[in-house]
Structures are given as C-alpha cells and as structure tokens.
Symmetry: C2
Subunit: 355 residues, 2 copies
C-alpha cells in the first residue's frame, strides 16, 4: 500500500512575524484559507487517503497538527523528541510503516511547499510510486529549473539513460550553489531542483540506512523491536538521541546506488521567504498584493498583510509589510532572506515573547 509521510518539523523563521516558534510556517495560512500543511494533505487525497498519512513533527507541534488535520488518525501524528534533520524523521516513519505493512511504499513530502498544478504532480507521483514499488529504488522528484536559483539544492541526472516512462538515474546531489555555479547548472540542462519529495519502499530506505547511516539505522532497529510496547516512547527518544543530525539527502541519497529522479513541471515552490509569497500571489495593476485593512497611495510592488489595524502606505515600492498583534515587519523585497537574522537576534537577546 502507499502511504504519505508529511515532514512538518521546521520552524519557518523566514516567515516571522506571522510564523513563530509556537506556530511555524506549515501551520499558517500563507495562501488562501487553509494552512500549507492542510493544503499538502489535501493534494494527496486522490492518491493516499488520510488514514494512510503519517505526519512527523516536533513533539510541541503534535497538538497543532492534530487540530489542523482532524482527518488523520491521532496515532499517525508522530512527535519527534528533538530535531535531528530529515534522516531520523524518515527512519522513524519507516519503522512505523513497516510494522503495519511490510510492503509499505512511502511518499515523503515537506509540509510547507506549494504546488500549483496538482493534477500534473499526481501523475508524476504515480510514475515514481510504480518505480519504487517494483524496483526497490530510491526515487525523488526533480523540478525543471526556470531560473538559476541559488536557494535550492540541485540534482544532476543522466538524460541519456532514461528508463521507461520519463524516469532517470541520478548522478549527484548538489548543495545550494553560488550564482556562477547555478548558471552553469542551468546551461548544462542536466540539473533539476531538489524538491525534497522522496518515494521508496519502507524496507528499501531502511536497507539503505543500514548501509550508509549505520548508527541511525541501529538506533531505530532497537526502537522497532519495542514498538507497540510501553517502552515505545522511551525507545524513540533514545533512537533520536543516538542519531546524527543529518539530512536524508546527504546521509543516504548522495551515496546510494539505486537512485532515480522523475523530472516534473507542476508549479512547485518551497516558498522560502516573503518574496516567494509575493512572486506567487495574484497582483493588482500596480503590482501590489494587499490583505486586510490597507490604504495604498502612489506605491507599487508591495506585499502588505494587515492584522487588526489600518495600514497606510504612501510612496513605497518593493516592500513587504507583515503586521501582527505584537510585532511588525517591514522589509525590502530583496532582503526577505535576512528576516531570519532578525529572529536570530531576538533569540540571542532573549526576546522570547517575539520568536
């Protein structure tokens, strides 16, 4: 059977002040009436029902996930005792799935991305699932790059050697490049953006963890033996503490031999910062994106999210304004990546109320 595993451990500090530690990006309504994690669940329902969906998040967000995703059985919402990047998260979901279904195929998805063309996405996912189920391969979905982005990881694939049905062997995974390298990647035609979406059998990813991240594998192997006992929570806690803090990309995908990619084009974005929200939003004729009680005069290309208060904008251009009850952000469109620095500053200076 096919299962979704929605990874929801991030804190989304680039979306401050709307996103806070108490309510990270995936749980807020960045677009439309539903939160990003609700949209992620919803777009999967044609291929995987909520009963076969797992959510892995930090313990402190389990209540929030349970509240926002009432369709998902509570036992499917897994709390991580500590944040250890994606490798332990995936190991945890894999042993839970293996326990209930030895043939489980996992579709691992970030909880906070946007996909505009959902039908196209589902078609590609079907291909990937077929490949993973039948071959035991590790399959990922790569995005056809539309510009030389420096904010994404890349996947180099072997265009000459495609299997049936538009699936290709992966050559390498590359970290976020600098501008010159990103240009080179784009020009080569061999590189795709790493979407962070993975498809594999639970037993396949565990075998690969055994080969390439042995201590993490061993830690979760111990926990696997104690699933369903009163020692389960303790066992998971120990497994997390024994695991290295490493992503599945670096820990497994870069090293494994049986790795494939399905290139796709379905309006994907990881919505990395407020600028991405602006770029993806519908604009008025002055290029403004306005939400709430806003008066705007001689201004263009602004994203303004008003909270409860009236906001008047005069002679302003290329600016992001996000207002909440207790904190306000005003940021140039070209500086939205630096919002993270503000959150870091607030942390260091013990402004705990605001992070």
């Amino acid at each position: 059977m096919i299962y979704s595993v929605i990874m929801a451990g991030g804190i989304g500090s680039r979306f401050w002040p709307q996103s806070r530690e108490a309510r990270p990006k995936q749980f807020i309504r960045v677009f439309g009436e539903r939160s990003l994690i609700q949209q992620t669940l919803s777009r999967m329902t044609s291929i995987v029902p909520p009963e076969r969906t797992m959510v892995v998040t930090h313990e402190r967000y389990v209540a929030l996930a349970t509240e926002q995703l009432p369709e998902i059985p509570e036992k499917n919402i897994l709390g991580e005792p500590i944040s250890r990047n994606t490798a332990p998260c995936i190991a945890y979901a894999a042993i839970k799935l293996l326990e209930i279904d030895p043939d489980a195929v996992m579709v691992v998805l970030p909880s906070d991305h946007l996909i505009k063309a959902e039908d196209r996405f589902i078609k590609i996912l079907h291909k990937a699932v077929d490949m993973a189920k039948n071959s035991g391969a590790l399959v990922t979905i790569g995005i056809q790059p539309s510009y030389p982005a420096t904010g994404y990881g890349y996947i180099q694939y072997d265009r000459s050697a495609h299997e049936s049905n538009g699936i290709y062997p992966v050559r390498t995974f590359a970290e976020k490049p600098n501008e010159a390298t990103a240009e080179r990647f784009l020009d080569s035609g061999d590189f795709l953006w790493n979407s962070g979406i993975f498809i594999w059998r639970a037993d396949s990813i565990l075998s690969n963890l055994q080969l390439y991240l042995r201590s993490t594998w061993a830690a979760f192997q111990d926990a696997y033996a104690r699933l369903g006992t009163d020692q389960e929570a303790d066992a998971i806690r120990q497994a997390y503490h024994k695991s290295a803090r490493i992503s599945i990309d670096v820990g497994v995908m870069e090293r494994a031999s049986n790795v494939y990619v399905v290139p796709g084009n379905f309006g994907w974005s990881d919505i990395g910062d407020w600028r991405a929200v602006y770029d993806l939003s519908e604009k008025n004729r002055h290029g403004n994106v306005l939400k709430g009680n806003v008066i705007i005069h001689n201004s263009s290309r602004c994203l303004v999210n008003s909270g409860k208060r009236l906001i008047a904008i005069v002679g302003l251009h290329d600016t992001v304004v996000v207002d909440t009850d207790d904190a306000l952000l005003i940021c140039h469109q070209n500086s939205t990546q630096q919002v993270k620095n503000v959150v870091d500053y607030l942390h260091v200076h013990q402004h705990k109320d605001f992070v």
Copy 2:
C-alpha cells in the same frame, strides 16, 4: 504690557496617524518630552509670563489645552466656535486684550513650530516688541532662507531702507512659490520665509482690520461691547459666523502700509511633515532616527516611531514608519506631504475612527 497669543487651531493632518482630530500636532510630543504647544509656551516665559499668555484654539481643544498648559489661567484659553483661519482668531484675541489693557502689545505665535536657538529668538522678539510698542507698526519676523523652499510663504523686504536696529520695511508678502520662483527669491537676497509670528499693539491691529477687513472688524467690534456680559459667548459665535475665512497675511499684512520685518536666524521650522521631523532629529551613524522597540538591519535614513509593538526593519531606506494602537503609516521620505491625502481619503470614506 506684552502678551503672548498662541494660535492653536490646526489639525495637523500631515502628522497622521500620531496626530488625529482628537489630538492635533500641537498637542503631541513630536520632539522630546513635551508637546509642541508646551514648548511654545515655555520658550516665551523669559519675555511673557503664563498669566499674560492667551491661547486661541477650536472649542473642542480647549480642554486639551487647559490640561497641557496648567500654568495659563483658564479664562485665557479662548475657544473658537468655528475655524476661520487666522484673521478672526487675531481679532478675537485683540479685543480680549484691549479690554484688560489699552496699551497691550501682542506677540502672535503659531503653537506648533520649532525654534532651536531660543536665546537668539528672544533677542529678535525684543527688537520687534520695541518697534511695535513705540511706532504702532505691524511687525513680523522673517527667517533667513537656507534653501529654495516651496513649502513656505515669503516676505520681500527693503534691504536698503532699514530703520535702526535691524528692522526693515516690508515690500510684499508672497504665497508659497513654485521651484523656479523659490530659486529666484533665494538668489535675489530680498526674500525671507514667513514665520507666521506677528508683533503689534492690539489697538494697531484692530485699526488695520477696520481699514482692510471691515466686516470682520465690525463683527468683533459688536462682540467687544458685550465682553464680560452673559452675552459674550453668543457674541463671539456671531462674530465668527460673520467673519470671512481669511488669513491675517492676506487680509491685512499684504495691504497695510506700516509693516516691518525683523530678519532672524534661530533654527526655526514649522515642522510641516514627518520629513521635517526626520531632518531636525539627531540621527545614528546609519542616519536612522528610532523611537521605541525597534530592531533595524541593513537599513538607513529611516524615521521609526514604535508604539507598543516590536518593529523589525530589514533592508529599508529613506522611509518613515509611525505606529499607533490602531493605525500604522509607512511612507517614503519624499512622499510625506502626501500623508494628508490619506487623511482626506479616510474622511471621504467615513473611516471616522481613524481621523
């Protein structure tokens, strides 16, 4: 005796949202710990005590003026039933003063201006008072222009014909000029900025009102006869309704023959908008002026007034941010004159809570 007449009828819509109809510019703390009207009173104390100070303001601000200026006897705070520009305001103060002192000399001052070099100002005022007391002339104070401002009225004076002690005959009063005219004014060396500060005997200004604004004079002449009776309030109301809406500059000064100016240089500003506040404020090394709970990152030449909330500014330049409990302004430094348009819009669209 010398009396101050502080004119405090403005609504200061360019200082929205800190200034509102309920608390206009002169009653807010634009600089430092005291409101502008408190600073105006204070700088006059070495020449005129509070007991000889009159405040003329709209009826609705009498309570606010009484609260902010407890040193001034309540009977000296005069409420205008309707706003009719400065000519009726000055006629009202003149008849009140004439009633108590037939030799009263009035120093008429706007309530919402800034003067940095107060000692220099007081010296100039003494000259003007001497001239007005002894000659019956209408005397005004002109500011040596430091740039070709288009936001001020100008006074052309006769530099060749000065009386004793740096006092000159006025040739003309000119309205706010366009840029080319302002350049010409500055180059000529004959023009001063109109500070709106006037010095004259109460009987002199009334004689001139009789000559040049006869209906206003007649209306207040009627009221004068009823001062101190139970008809006083009614009489003043009638006088205002019978008076034309006109400034003393246009109504009298431009036409009168006995008009003199004392040029001065004492760090004067009418603080016409937020940009002026920025220009006059002490800046940090990035040119920012910050008040309240503000975090600023890679930003310069910003004026930020935080209310109760935290404001984070990232990658922003040349911007004014003014936050209050219910409304927030974000405005480019070059657009601060347009803040008035926002207030007009709020009026037209019946957003009465915000004006």
